[in-house]
Symmetry: C2
Subunit: 184 residues, 2 copies
């Protein structure tokens, strides 16, 4: 737990780069080499994980491109206040594939997502927002949320206030945001 | 001067929608219907103008998709401080085509752009930044800048702090940011 093999990171980066290319999203070689593979320390990247490129993150705004493999889930978390910052506000815009986003609010009766096996207890908000290409949703600060791709995976643009990922609060206490990469 | 015909707006919107579609950028029907066509009141949209869709503009951040037709130029301007806001910071990321961006700083010896005829006097900064797909540049607040597409036009993602376009200061005193649309 809490570690990921270097070869697994490289494979996920290559797969992510291929998905960007197929969607016509051009990345520089440096961006491809720096694709972030977030496993959240949970051991099964395919189940719970996220791939991303951060275009810009300054003291005013942030923009990222997120990739989810088929049915891959970004675990439930929220963005708390940090100092003078009331917490990150973020807008998710689906570019390709399908994303099921869950936020606080009236629970949807029959959610489409499949809860990641073994982690069911750590998913607690079930107000479903379905994002198809061209559709977007803005999440206020301090709001619990999680999201899962459909059968074809998904690419999501994230526009937000400053990102301070290290302060994110995950519902699952086993999660470690900073990955430990081990050589094969 | 200062007006644009409804039919010209519609034609520019249709052309912009086609460019988004060709680049694989999905817009909702509402977004297509609301494509902003900025003529800057200068009368020749093909020469000086800009087409855009604003995805989100809240009190923290803003994201837009900008389109330039071949050799179309967004006139020189800057984003001043507004109240507590030090002025808009913006990041341009080229998605397709080529953009020549000019900012304050050491003038480039032979600039690639063609100055819009009749408006030459209102272009005063010539530090050239060439943006090809996947390349980006961040413009600090209060910095004069202008940009022009290459022969194939361009699509540019803009990530920024809050947009307050109505406060933009243009070098060309003839410019009116808010268009007057007349029926044919």
């Amino acid at each position: 737990m809490g570690v990921i093999k270097r070869s697994e990171v490289r494979a996920a980066q290559a797969r992510t780069a291929e998905l960007f290319a197929r969607a016509g999203i051009v990345m520089t070689p440096e961006e491809v080499a720096g694709i972030e593979v977030a496993t959240f320390g949970l051991g099964d990247l395919e189940k719970e994980g996220l791939e991303l490129v951060t275009y810009v993150n300054n003291d005013r705004y942030c923009a990222k491109e997120l990739v989810l493999f088929p049915y891959q889930t970004c675990p439930e978390h929220l963005h708390p206040p940090v100092g003078d910052d009331p917490g990150k506000t973020e807008t998710f815009r689906c570019r390709s594939g399908k994303v099921l986003l869950y936020v606080e609010g009236e629970p949807t009766e029959r959610v489409q997502a499949r809860l990641p096996e073994g982690s069911e207890a750590y998913y607690t908000v079930f107000h479903e927002v379905e994002l198809l290409p061209g559709r977007q949703y803005t999440i206020p600060p301090g709001t619990k949320h999680w999201f899962q791709a459909g059968a074809d995976g998904a690419i999501v643009s994230e526009f937000s206030s400053t990102s301070r990922d290290e302060y994110d609060i995950f519902t699952d206490p086993r999660i470690e945001r900073i990955p430990v990469i081990v050589e094969d």
